[in-house]
Symmetry: C2
Subunit: 182 residues, 2 copies
């Protein structure tokens, strides 16, 4: 049942967005009784949180291009591509919205990004082992710096993202990492 409900949350978000998500529509689409969905999840924010927990359980393939520049550009490009495709962006947009309204969603979002940042930081520790970078005080900081300008455009300044902004963000993070600042 959880699989069906999670899939329905994703499909409903793609079609109607966060503002149009209702427990009723998710139940209908999943073919599950409304009362069951209400009893187990309660609100749309909990549905979104559980869908995110479900995504967090899948393995994310960490880029391995052979260079730290290639890896960081791959990570940034994946973020930019997510937010240029409405089918892909509807879920992270809903997650940020839900986390601003629900503590359960906020905790799910924190766990999700902590796990992804930790996984992505492997590209930094690999680069340190290859002698490409001085060891950063915090390898995750290189990942934050790589992704932050893209999320800032999407959620704060409301400016567009594309592969050029992704490459620039990755190269800027790398420049800071090379000077030993991160």
């Amino acid at each position: 049942m959880r699989e069906a409900v999670v899939a329905a949350v994703h499909a409903e978000l793609v079609e109607h967005g966060y503002a149009g998500l209702t427990v009723e529509n998710v139940a209908d689409r999943a073919g599950v009784h409304k009362t069951t969905v209400y009893r187990r999840w309660g609100t749309v924010d909990v549905l979104i949180a559980d869908a995110l927990d479900h995504t967090a359980e899948t393995t994310w393939p960490v880029p391995d291009t052979g260079t730290i520049e290639g890896d960081l550009i791959a990570i940034a490009t994946e973020v930019a591509d997510t937010f240029t495709d409405p089918d892909h962006s509807s879920v992270p947009v809903a997650v940020v919205a839900a986390a601003l309204q629900s503590d359960r969603a906020l905790q799910a979002k924190r766990r999700f990004y902590a796990a992804r940042q930790e996984a992505a930081a492997r590209v930094v520790t690999r680069a340190v082992h290859r002698g490409e970078l001085p060891p950063p005080a915090d390898p995750v900081e290189v990942i934050r710096q790589t992704c932050a300008p893209l999320y800032h455009r999407v959620f704060i300044s409301g400016e567009p993202v594309d592969r050029a902004t992704a490459e620039r963000a990755a190269r800027a993070a790398l420049a800071a990492a090379r000077t030993g600042l991160l």
Copy 2:
């Protein structure tokens, strides 16, 4: 009347946050008839958008410490301080939440950040004139890079911000700007 309503929006957000904001409470606090507030603003998201437009009309004092490093650290520190004080963070948090639900709020948020980023970029053009920096292709990009890691922590990864994270973000942006990458 607008002044009273805008002040009431701020006060209500500080006390009850975005989830607790209602047109009724804003009207009560402002001493304005409910029907008038409904007719002129309609929803809480429009109230938030108008409060933001009002803030955008006030002049923001651009830091001028004498060095680009000092100026960028001042800008980043102001962002970090905003988000470590619940009295100050409730408004920007509500703005981001409202912009995810309302096109009117989204437009207000875009205008606000475009104006602030443009104003802040004056510290970059001044530094170029002083010979501290090579001329960036886009002076605003230095500002985005300075502030983005802080907003990313607050709204995306849900990690804390403080003056140390602010200084690091400013120094990393400056390192990228010095290499001519921005």
